[in-house]
């Protein structure tokens, strides 16, 4: 299960989601600017007030860390 916590205006969120889409990876997109519960969930998981936060099967990635995402999802 992959969740991307994002805001609609954040360029790194956009890049993260584009990257996942290009690699045919399905994910749940939580818009934390609208979804208050989603925002609280993100802060709890990551301790962060910054986006994007990516949850890959419980592994929390802060920011668009392409190498870590590639690693966790076995993208070459």
């Amino acid at each position: 299960m992959i969740t991307v916590y994002s805001t609609p205006t954040c360029p790194w969120c956009f890049r993260t989601k584009e990257f996942l889409k290009q690699n045919n990876i399905t994910f749940k997109d939580v818009d934390v600017s609208r979804d208050r519960a989603g925002a609280m969930e993100m802060i709890e998981k990551s301790g962060q007030m910054g986006v994007p936060v990516i949850d890959i099967n419980g592994e929390i990635i802060i920011g668009f860390d392409k190498e870590r995402i590639k690693d966790l999802l076995n993208i070459k």
Binding site: T7, C10, P11, G50, V51
Partner: protein, 299 residues
């Protein structure tokens, strides 16, 4: 061996790539990401032809323009550039490339405040990008630090989201554009504090407040977000032993954007231009690409 290697994927690099493609030069553009700093700006209102456009949207538009010209894109980070005889050897994390000319257009990264609490609360209430993280401060109190155009734009944007916005200005007057300042002066949600510096950012897990120093003394403000917009520092680490940098770390160039190293050009925010503006980056990218073309033609 390439004719040209462009380093940097912001507007200066992309404009250089568009011009180089139209001259049918044999070149690549290397950058880990494309779009540049403007993608982090909520909106742009000084790009001729676009009265009001989102920063990310504009960045996406010029990236698509470049891609439509079948430009050879390398997604990587340049770690070192050396001149060996007549050629430049450009090392990235993954590969080594060779070229007759280089355009260095890496831009700059945001400057930090360097105050206690900043490092600890990065991403925990301290942010450098209101466009990215601003929506998380909906209904909260924030401080925008810096009253240049970036800080003013952030403060305007945050006043639409946050409950209260403090604009912390180190100068006695606002140095950013009057048209932006006017939007803040009569804004009931915004309180501008002049002649103020941040002493400390406080908090527990997340930010809970700041202490500022003003001519009237120290003052504590309770808030949840600190948006730092105090300027930029140029990215020059891989070329610091190759070209002359001015005392602030910017690259010195001539009228054709060539450095003192023949064949090595620089463009955009990394150059010691007096103003850092989108149109200036585009202009620099164009001049550097045509300059590189002329340099090769004359040899």
């Amino acid at each position: 061996m390439y004719d040209l290697i462009i380093v940097g994927g912001g507007l200066a690099g992309i404009t250089a790539a568009i011009y180089a493609a139209r001259k049918e030069m044999n070149f690549i553009i290397i950058s880990p990401e494309f779009g540049g700093e403007i993608a982090n700006t909520p909106y742009v209102e000084n790009w001729p032809g676009e009265k009001h456009i989102g920063g990310m949207e504009l960045a996406q538009k010029y990236f698509e323009h470049m891609k439509s010209l079948n430009v050879n894109i390398v997604e990587d980070i340049v770690t070192e550039i050396k001149k060996e005889g007549e050629k430049f050897v450009v090392k990235t994390y993954e590969k080594t490339f060779e070229s007759k000319t280089v355009i260095w257009a890496t831009g700059s990264k945001y400057r930090e405040l360097k105050v206690p609490g900043e490092e600890k609360f990065k991403g925990r209430g301290v942010t450098y990008c209101s466009t990215c993280d601003g929506p998380l401060f909906k209904g909260k109190t924030v401080a925008v630090v810096g009253a240049g155009n970036n800080g003013l734009t952030s403060a305007i944007y945050m006043s639409e989201i946050a409950e209260k916005v403090y604009l912390i200005n180190k100068n006695p007057i606002i140095k950013g554009d009057a048209i932006l300042a006017e939007k803040l002066i009569n804004n009931k949600k915004v309180e501008i504090i002049h002649n103020a510096r941040i002493k400390e950012i406080r908090g527990e897990k997340l930010v809970t407040g700041i202490t500022i120093i003003t001519p009237e003394g120290e003052k504590n403000i309770n808030l949840q977000g600190v948006i730092v917009n105090v300027g930029y520092t140029p990215i020059t680490e891989p070329i610091k032993n190759l070209v002359h940098l001015d005392p602030s770390g910017y690259v010195s160039v001539d009228a054709k954007k060539m450095t003192h190293v023949p064949g090595f050009f620089a463009a955009g925010d990394v150059v010691n231009n007096p103003y850092k503006q989108l149109v200036i980056s585009a202009s620099d990218g164009c001049t550097a690409a045509l300059g590189a073309y002329d340099y090769l033609s004359s040899r």
